[in-house]
Amino acid sequence: MSHVLAVLEQRDGSLRKVSHEVVTGARRVADELAGEVHALVLGAGVIQGIDASGRYGADKVITATNTGFGSYAPEGYARAVAERVQSGGYGVVVFAASAQGKDLAPRVAARLGVSLAADVTEVAVDSGMVVVTRPVYAGKALLKVKVTASPAVVTLRPNVFTPVERPKAGTAESISVTGDAGRVIVKGIKAAAGGSLDVAEAPIVISGGRGLKEPANFKLLEELAGAFGGKAAVGASRAVVDAGWRPHGDQVGQTGKTVSPSLYVAVGISGAIQHLAGMRTAKVIVAINKDKDAPIFKVADYGIVGDLFEVVPKLTEEVRKLHG
């Protein structure tokens, strides 16, 4: 029997939603190993929302505090997580493949001297060993990998492990971590102009390409995203990011972000292979393009052939009616 450690994330003292996905993924593995899920969050004090972890399947919720842990502290966090993994004898450690998880998990794995299965979209157990599926070549192929290292360290791609309610006791434990935050100090986070929702984590992504003709026209997409009431983020093709119309963080594709929202709306994007690679795992794809032969229609579930400057405002109006 082996227990699973789910490493959660907080920002400004509140649990980040992606943490529920981590607990859900960890629960899936723990069930197959007949083990427990222990959820670990690091912070400077009490973390708001941490008690919800029991609902998603955490048997125990551990808050590890240190005055230097209010913001992410790469070295201090890595040391604290690695120590907990060792003292708790965990067989599996699960992180989110978020900005923080992608920074922290490799440090923890290297500290423990084990390999890391990163950015996985499926996780299972076979003969007591974790087996993951991870997209490579930006989703143009899937690699199935058996993790023979112990502990097995895994990061989960955001938006793939839909949180499932699996109520467990969620017993709370609080520990204080000695030592300092480390040499890398996070001074703060400057909020992005486009709001707090990242394209990699948004349930709905509205992306625009060269068909929008000029940067100012992205306003149409921002209005459509706004109509979804805070659930949608605006993405962009490489062409418009390279042209300087949109920030790099919004780019969807092989050289940008790979996204798996429940709804992806491609507006004025022809669908180059490197773009398709970044969004083909979306649950539902809608394409709006004036060229009926555009490759984007080959992967879209629903397409509208037409002038985006007429179609998008109409779509915004209809979505507002639903959410109004």
Binding site: P74, E75, A97, A99, Q100, K102, D103, A105, P106, R107, A110, R111, S115, L116, A118, D119, R134, P135, V136, Y137, A138, K140, A141, L142, L143, K144, V145, K146, V147, T148, G182, V184, I185, V186, K187, G188, I189, K190, A192, S196, V241, H248, T255, L263, I273, V284, I285, K292, F297, D301, Y302, G303, I304, V305, G306, E310, V311, K314, L315, V319
Partner: protein, 250 residues
């Protein structure tokens, strides 16, 4: 300033993936290989830092087959001073092995900065930089999109969900570079000619054992054929209906 840049040879992003006969890897026949795009930012940053400092050395290190020499030469043509190839029969799927080989080469070599691209666009492992830092006991900042260095200290900005994280760190340090940090230069003809004469040392990579076993590589499931709902704004109500009733995403 002495700077190391760790680079990787990857299949071009326009590659159509064909799976090799072993069922576990890419069929490389006819595939165009390039310097990993995120590594270009690392090479460029190193060159600019050295130029700014007025002296120093930029060393490019790659792990892989003999063919990676070509990728090293690309970085040398951009302006790096010398190259090191840690030769292996193939680039491992396990980032820890690459990190170990790189750490062995970088250890005690006196680099002020060790740069990586934030990830390789082939395996999306996103881990070799921070793992190498951990093995070397160095501070590390990943996904750097803005960087200032003065008096042995650095300030960086890295993209996180919904904003930019501002980070301070001491040198020597490991950094991984993101798009937006700079505009990588194209190798000029003169640089390409000069690169041919620059030193490139080849030595075997020391990996150790892996904790990952690749079972298979398969094509992703085909998306089922979609349909054109209609033309123009008139098709929107039907689209909304389908998204609500058939796809159930609204």
């Amino acid at each position: 300033m002495k700077i190391a840049v760790c680079i990787k040879r990857v299949a071009d992003s326009e590659t159509r993936v064909k799976i090799a006969a072993d069922g576990k890897s890419l069929d490389e026949a006819g595939v165009k290989f390039i310097l990993n795009p995120y590594d270009e930012f690392a090479v460029e940053e190193a060159l600019q830092r050295k130029e700014k400092a007025g002296s120093g050395e930029v060393v490019v290190i790659a792990c892989g087959q003999q063919s990676s020499q070509e990728t090293i030469r690309t970085a040398l043509a951009m302006g790096a001073d010398r190259g090191v190839l840690l030769e292996a029969a193939r680039i491992p799927a396990d980032g820890l092995l690459v990190a170990r080989a790189l750490a062995a080469e970088l250890k005690d070599a006196g680099f002020d900065l060790i740069l990586f691209g934030k990830m390789a666009i082939d395996d999306y492992n996103h881990q070799v930089g921070p793992m190498t830092a951990e093995l070397l006991g160095l501070p590390c900042v990943t996904c750097v999109a803005h960087l200032e260095i003065a008096d042995g200290k650095g300030t960086a900005e890295r993209e996180v969900e919904g904003g930019m994280e501002e980070v301070e760190f001491p040198l020597p340090a490991v950094l991984t570079t993101d798009k937006g940090l700079n505009e990588p230069r194209y190798p000029a003809l003169k640089g390409i000619m000069a690169a041919k004469k620059k030193p490139l040392e080849v030595k075997p990579a020391a990996f150790g054992t892996t904790g990952l076993e690749v079972l298979s590589m398969t094509p992703p499931p085909e998306r089922k054929e979609g349909r054109i709902v209609g033309e123009g704004a008139a098709a929107v109500p039907e689209l909304i209906k389908l998204l609500r009733e058939e796809a159930k995403v609204l």
